[in-house]
C-alpha cells in the first residue's frame, strides 16, 4: 500500500500527454473497445497488454486516427493530446500523425531502398535542409533502431529485401526519423532475437527522455522491463491500469491476475 502511494506520486509529477474518455470503437456491429478511460503521461513508457483480439491495436490506432482509414470503424468518445481533442473537426489527421508516430504490428517497409524508407518522413515534412542533413537523420535513426551496422553498406538496396526482424527495425527507424512527440509501437519486438530486442528496448528507454511511448506487447517480461505504466485490456475493456510494478506484483482485478500468471490469453 505504502509502495503504491510512492509510485503514484512519482507518476503524478509528470504531465498527462494523452487523455482518453469513454472511448468506444465499433467495427460495424462488433464493439471492439468498450468505454475506455485512460491518461497516458508524457515522457513515460506505457505498455498495453492483454490476450489476442482484446483491442490493443484498435485502441492504439485511435490515438493517431489510423482507424479513419478503416471504413467500417467508428470511434466515439474523446481523446485529447496536450488538451486538444484529436477528433475535433478542425484537426487534420495528417498533421496529427506527424506528431504521433506509429510502428505497425506487421513490418511494412516501402518497396524502396532502405535509405528512402527512412528518409521519406523527413522529406515530406521538410525536416532536412540539405542532403547532408538528411544523411545524418537517416544514419541516426538507423543507429537508434539498431540497424545501422547491418544496413550501412546496403542503403540502396530495397527495404523489402531485409529479413523480417530487420524490416521491423527499419520500420522503427522510419518512425523515429520524423521525431514524433508520441510514438505508438504495436509489438515492435515480435520478430526480433534477444539481442535486437534488447537494443530496441534500450531505444525505447532513450526515447522516454523526450517522448511519450506507448507499446503493445505480448511479453510480460518486456512490459515489466521497459514500461512505467501498464494497461491490461480484456475483451475490449480496460480492466486495470496503473504503475507497472503494481500491476505485476499485486493486481487488483482477478482477470489481470490470471492473465499475467498465464491462465488466460
Amino acid at each position: 500500500m505504502n509502495d503504491m502511494r510512492l509510485t503514484e506520486r512519482a507518476v503524478g509529477t509528470q504531465t498527462t500527454k494523452i487523455t482518453a474518455r469513454a472511448v468506444q470503437v465499433f467495427y460495424g456491429d462488433n464493439h471492439a473497445i468498450k468505454d475506455v478511460d485512460v491518461d497516458i503521461a508524457d515522457k513515460t513508457v506505457t505498455a498495453f497488454i492483454g490476450p489476442s483480439g482484446c483491442g490493443k491495436s484498435t485502441f492504439l490506432r485511435c490515438i493517431n486516427r489510423m482507424n479513419d482509414t478503416i471504413s467500417v470503424a467508428r470511434v466515439e468518445g474523446d481523446i485529447l493530446i496536450d488538451g486538444e481533442d484529436i477528433y475535433d473537426k478542425r484537426v487534420d489527421p495528417v498533421q496529427l500523425r506527424a506528431k504521433v508516430g506509429m510502428v505497425f504490428q506487421k513490418p511494412n517497409p516501402f518497396p524502396k531502398s532502405i535509405y528512402d524508407n527512412v528518409a521519406y518522413g523527413p522529406r515530406i515534412h521538410g525536416l532536412a535542409r540539405d542532403k547532408a542533413d538528411l544523411d545524418e537523420i537517416v544514419e541516426r535513426s538507423l543507429r537508434r533502431a539498431a540497424l545501422w551496422d547491418e544496413a550501412k553498406d546496403r542503403l540502396g538496396e530495397p527495404g523489402t529485401g531485409l529479413s523480417g526482424g530487420q524490416q521491423q527495425r527499419l520500420c522503427i527507424a522510419r518512425a523515429v526519423a520524423t521525431s514524433p512527440e508520441v510514438l505508438l509501437m504495436d509489438e515492435p519486438c515480435s520478430a526480433l532475437d534477444p539481442i535486437a530486442t534488447a537494443q530496441v528496448e534500450e531505444l525505447i528507454d532513450e526515447l522516454r527522455q523526450n517522448y511519450s511511448v506507448v507499446i503493445v506487447t505480448h511479453s510480460m517480461q518486456q512490459a515489466a522491463r521497459v514500461s512505467q505504466r501498464t494497461a491490461f485490456f480484456h475483451l475490449g475493456n480496460l480492466v486495470e491500469y496503473g504503475e507497472t510494478g503494481k500491476i505485476f506484483t499485486s493486481p487488483e482485478d482477478p482477470r489481470t491476475e490470471s492473465y499475467i500468471s498465464g491462465r488466460i490469453g
Binding site: 489510423m66 495528417v94 498533421q95 500523425r97 516501402f110 518497396p111
Partner: protein, 446 residues
C-alpha cells in the same frame, strides 16, 4: 473407416508404398495436367492455322510487280504555254497523259526488240491505270522534266501482278475478260528483258486506298495515319481520365450506394457492344456537337469512351492489389492521402495500369463497328494534314480498311486485305510486347 484394421492416421504406414488415397490424388493431378496441356495444344493449333492462312494469303501484298519504261514528255501536249506553271499545266487531265504511257511502252518494246501482236491499247493494259495519275502528279511536281524522255517505273496491272503471285494462270486468263494469254506472253517477254520486276511493296504502307478496279495501287497510308491519330487521342484522353477516375473511386470516394452504382455502371459499360458506342458517337459528336464525319477526332473520342471502362477496371484492380499496409505505412508517417497514393501506391500499380492501358489501346486499334457508323468507312484518298488540324480531316482506320478491302470483288483485294491484317497484327504484337516490356521494367519485387 471401411477397413477396421487399416491405420487411422494419415501419416501412418510405409513411405515406400503409396497408399490408395495418395495414388488417387496423384492420378487426379496427372489427369488435370493432361486436360490443361490439351487445352493449350488446341489453342496453339488454332493460332497456327490462323497465322498460316493469313500469311499465305497476305504476304504477297508486300510485293509488287512494276514495269520500267521510257516516257517522253512532249511540251506541246503537257504545257502549251511553256511557262511551266503547275496551275496551268493542271488543265491537262489524265486523258492527256494516258497516250504518253502507251507510246512509252511501245517505244520501250521497240528499243528492246520485243515483238507482240497486241495492239498498242491492249499492250498498255499491262500498265495500271493508277500509273497515269502517278505520272501526272510527278510531272506537275517536277515541271522542269517536260521536254525530256525519262525512265518511269509504273505499276503492273492487277492481273499481271497476280500472274507473278500465282493468282492468274494461262488457263484462267483464257476465261478472263480483263487479261489475255497474249498479254501474259508480253509480260514474260518484258520480264525476260529485265524490265518487269517484282520487288518489295513500300507503297502498300504509304499509298492511299485506290478504286475497286485498281487493287495494285491500293495501300494503307491513310488508314495507318488515321489509326495513329485515333490511338493518340485515345491515349491522351483515356489514360489520364481513366487513371484519375480510378484513383478517385479506389482511394478517395466514400463507400456508399452512389459509388456502388458508379461501379456497377462502369462494369456494364465495359460489356456494352462497341457498335452502341458508334451510335452514341454519331448522335453526340457528329449530330449534336457538329464535328465532321469520317474524322479521326470523332473516331478517337468514340474509342476513348469504349476504352475508358477497360482502363478504369484494370487500374482499379491494380490499385486494389497494392497491399493496404503500404498505405498505412505512408499515412502513419504523416503523409497526406494524395502523397500516399502518388508516392507509393501509384508506382506499385503502374505495371498493371500500363498493361491495362495498352490492352485497351490494342482493343481500340482493332475496333471496326463503331467506326463504320461515324463514317470512317468512306473512301479517302487524301492524306489528312498533320495534327492537330489533321484530326479533323477525313481518314480511315486499319480495321475499317480491311473491311473495305474485303467488300470488293477483285480477288487481288483478298491479298490486300490479308496484307492489311498482317500489318494490324504486327502493330498489336508491338503494343503487347511494349506492355510486357513495361511491366518487366516497372515491376518491383516484394
Amino acid at each position: 473407416m471401411t477397413d477396421a484394421t487399416a491405420p487411422i492416421g494419415a501419416g501412418q504406414g510405409s513411405l515406400i508404398q503409396q497408399d490408395s488415397r495418395t495414388a488417387k490424388r496423384n492420378a487426379a493431378e496427372k489427369r488435370f495436367k493432361m486436360y490443361g496441356l490439351a487445352a493449350v495444344c488446341v489453342g496453339i493449333a488454332m493460332l497456327i492455322m490462323l497465322v498460316t492462312s493469313i500469311l499465305s494469303n497476305g504476304v504477297s501484298a508486300f510485293f509488287q510487280t512494276t514495269i520500267q519504261i521510257m516516257v517522253e514528255l512532249p511540251e506541246e501536249k503537257l504545257d502549251k504555254s511553256g511557262v511551266r506553271d503547275p496551275e496551268v499545266m493542271a488543265k491537262v487531265t489524265t486523258f492527256g497523259y494516258a497516250p504518253l504511257l502507251r507510246d512509252g511502252l511501245q517505244k520501250t518494246l521497240e528499243d528492246n526488240g520485243i515483238e507482240t501482236e497486241l495492239s498498242a491499247k491492249d499492250a498498255a493494259d499491262l500498265i495500271s491505270d493508277e500509273s497515269v495519275a502517278q505520272l501526272r502528279r510527278y510531272v506537275l511536281a517536277n515541271p522542269e522534266l517536260i521536254g525530256q524522255t525519262i525512265p518511269v517505273e509504273v505499276l503492273a496491272s492487277g492481273r499481271i501482278d497476280g500472274f507473278y503471285k500465282g493468282r492468274v494462270t494461262y488457263e484462267s486468263a483464257e476465261l478472263d475478260s480483263n487479261v489475255s494469254p497474249e498479254q501474259l506472253d508480253l509480260a514474260e517477254a518484258l520480264k525476260g528483258a529485265d524490265l518487269l520486276k517484282t520487288g518489295f511493296n513500300w507503297r502498300f504502307f504509304t499509298a492511299p486506298d485506290a478504286s475497286v478496279t485498281r487493287p495494285e495501287a491500293a495501300g494503307l497510308g491513310v488508314a495507318i495515319i488515321g489509326s495513329f491519330y485515333m490511338m493518340l487521342i485515345v491515349l491522351c484522353l483515356a489514360l489520364p481520365i481513366g487513371v484519375a477516375a480510378s484513383i478517385y473511386l479506389e482511394e478517395f470516394a466514400p463507400q456508399n450506394r452512389f459509388t456502388d452504382l458508379i461501379e456497377v455502371n462502369i462494369s456494364n459499360l465495359a460489356a456494352v457492344p462497341s457498335i452502341v458506342f458508334g451510335i452514341l458517337g454519331l448522335a453526340i459528336f457528329i449530330n449534336f456537337a457538329g464535328l465532321p464525319q469520317s474524322a479521326p477526332i470523332v473516331g478517337g473520342l468514340v474509342l476513348t469512351l469504349m476504352t475508358l471502362p477497360t482502363i478504369i477496371i484494370a487500374t482499379r484492380a491494380s490499385l486494389k492489389s497494392v497491399p493496404p499496409s503500404i498505405r498505412d505505412a505512408a499515412l502513419g508517417l504523416g503523409a497526406s492521402k494524395m502523397q500516399a497514393v502518388f508516392h507509393h501506391v501509384l508506382p506499385l500499380a503502374m505495371p498493371g495500369i500500363l498493361t491495362g492501358t495498352i490492352i485497351g489501346l490494342a482493343q481500340a486499334l482493332g475496333e471496326t463497328a463503331p467506326l463504320l457508323l461515324i463514317g470512317m468507312v468512306a473512301f479517302v484518298r487524301e492524306y489528312p494534314a498533320g495534327p492537330p488540324e489533321g484530326l479533323f480531316d477525313p481518314a480511315t482506320a486499319l480495321p475499317v480498311q480491311i473491311f473495305n478491302f474485303t467488300q470488293r470483288s477483285d480477288p487481288a483485294f483478298v491479298e490486300r486485305a490479308s496484307g492489311a491484317i498482317i500489318v494490324l497484327l504486327l502493330f498489336l504484337l508491338i503494343m503487347n510486347l511494349t506492355a510486357i516490356f513495361l511491366r518487366r521494367r516497372f515491376e518491383r519485387r516484394w
